[in-house]
Amino acid sequence: MLELRGITAGYDPRDPVVRDVYLTVADGEAVGLLGPSGCGKSTLARVAALLHRPTAGTVVIDGEPARGWRHRAPREQRTAFGVVFQQPRQSADPRLRLRDLIAEPLRASGRSRAEAAARVGELAAAVGLSEELLARRPHEVSDGQLQRACLARALVPRPRWLICDEMTAMLDASTTAALVAVVEDYRRESGAGLLVVGHDAALLDRWCDRTVRWSTLVPNKEDASPRKAT
């Protein structure tokens, strides 16, 4: 189980973006989190993936409270998560060939080269990337192709939890359906749980077991609308 307990988080401690939020994803469950632009759902998703330190509250992963954030999170907690963001160009190292980009999470894991290559090959096939595309760098591929690589990279360590933040917001309908199918295949095979953050109700309702509306998460609804300037 992945539990967010009383999370308060943001960028300015006097004016947090997320206030006292509770959310639970059960084993193997797919939960959609639907909210308007700027409400803070990306911030919450980053907290859930241990990428952003909350100012209050805890993230509990399979009964264990998170013991650190970002690179200070213990390895086994960090690698429990696979994360895919909206903008593949912002999250992909421009110098790496797609093959190495996908293999990145395996580098520090002490796995043998052959093992890593086999895992990359398997995932590249699943997301539909050819050998020729794997040899290219991010600026030589389309957004859709790069997002396929970013999804493969997220799946490479066999995460127990997947966090997809607007993974398909910049993709066409067919590429969206294709990437969702890859995620669902992985979940079927691995039993991983999923948190999908987005603002496309039709997509979340079709994809997830249940969809949670941001306004029902946040106690004070006024804070859920795009924030007023202070």
């Binding site: 909210g35 700027g38 910049m170 969702v180 994809w207």
Partner: protein, 317 residues
């Protein structure tokens, strides 16, 4: 009357080792005042390159063919000086695909809006502040965020800032490249309604989008691009309703929607640097037959040897 007349527009990128990328091939369409054409298609199919060509913003290794007449000016032949001084922002407004990249990181949204208003409308002095605020308001950019820097904005707010900048010059042709990426449905609706109002005021609007719901909401006509070619141009009502698209690719695209079958088109689009002979969709097409080894021409709104029937044929069958 025509605002923009694009004829046989092709764009080729020359790559290292003599390789050539056929990003756009023989695209033709017209846009009249008050009209909105939505250009849809798979990621990487050439939509943004087409827009860049119209603005003279292609990189140095690109070569164009054909013509794109804006009044009597051929945008493809115009020199950089003309484009910079009289075209961009003034005769052609651009709402960019990645707003963050188009906003200057070290300046607040207010300062960028004021500069653009000053440059394009000549407004100066005390009224400048009000004019910039009005410009923000038109794109639903909240006044309280005007003093923020681009990195302090969510994706949605950055998009609205970029839209506000594009609307300042009141250009007769507006190119919107994915203007609603990252916005929630309410904001998508507000943004496209705002763009629609601009069209209704007599401007021509070319909106590039992968958001089919946004396209349906705003467009008079839809152009579908696949592997660099426009493969279908249709009336929006017929396209999204009955009888639906005529080109098999366009059908597949609509069927992939979560509101519909949610099934992807099998496979991936071909590499634009290595296009197959004949119809580029053949490898993924359920209707492909031997005749598809010849490239189909765009005739009667569709480039396909075995299209789905058009409205009249459908009702007769």
């Amino acid at each position: 009357m025509t605002v923009l007349d694009v004829r046989d527009l092709s764009v080729r990128f020359r790559m290292r080792g003599g390789r050539e990328i056929a990003a756009v091939t023989e695209a033709s369409f017209r846009l009249g005042p008050g009209e909105c054409l939505a250009l849809v298609g798979e990621s990487g199919c050439g939509k943004s390159v087409l827009a860049s060509a119209l603005l003279g913003l292609l990189p140095g290794n690109a070569r164009t063919e054909g013509s794109a007449l804006l009044g009597d000016l051929d945008l493809l032949a115009a020199d950089e000086r003309t484009l910079a001084r009289t075209v961009r922002g003034r005769r052609v407004g651009l709402v960019p695909q990645s707003p963050a990249a188009h906003l200057t990181p070290v300046r607040t949204v207010r300062s960028q809006l004021e500069e653009t208003v000053r440059e394009l409308t000549g407004v100066r002095g005390r009224v400048l502040r009000t004019a910039a605020e009005a410009a923000a308001e038109r794109a639903a950019f909240p006044a309280g965020h005007l003093d923020r820097y681009p990195h302090q904005l969510s994706g949605g707010l950055a998009q609205r800032a970029a839209t506000a900048l594009a609307l300042v010059g009141d250009a007769p042709l507006l190119l919107a490249d994915e203007p609603t990426t990252g916005l929630d449905r309410d904001l998508v609706d507000r943004t496209v309604d705002e763009l629609r109002r601009h069209a209704d005021a007599g401007r021509a609007l070319l909106m590039i989008t992968h958001d089919l719901a946004a396209a349906q909401r705003i467009a008079d006509r839809v152009a579908v691009m696949y592997a660099g070619r426009i493969v279908e141009v249709a009336d929006a009502t017929a396209f999204f309703g009955a009888p639906g698209p005529r080109h098999p690719y366009a059908r597949g695209l609509l069927d992939a929607l979560p509101e519909r079958a949610f099934t992807p088109i099998p496979g991936m689009p071909p590499e634009l640097g290595d296009l197959p002979e004949g119809c580029a969709f053949a490898a993924r097409c359920p209707r492909a037959a031997a005749g598809c080894r010849a490239v189909p021409d765009l005739a009667d709104g569709v480039a396909c040897h075995h299209p789905h029937p058009a409205a009249e044929e459908a009702s007769r069958a």
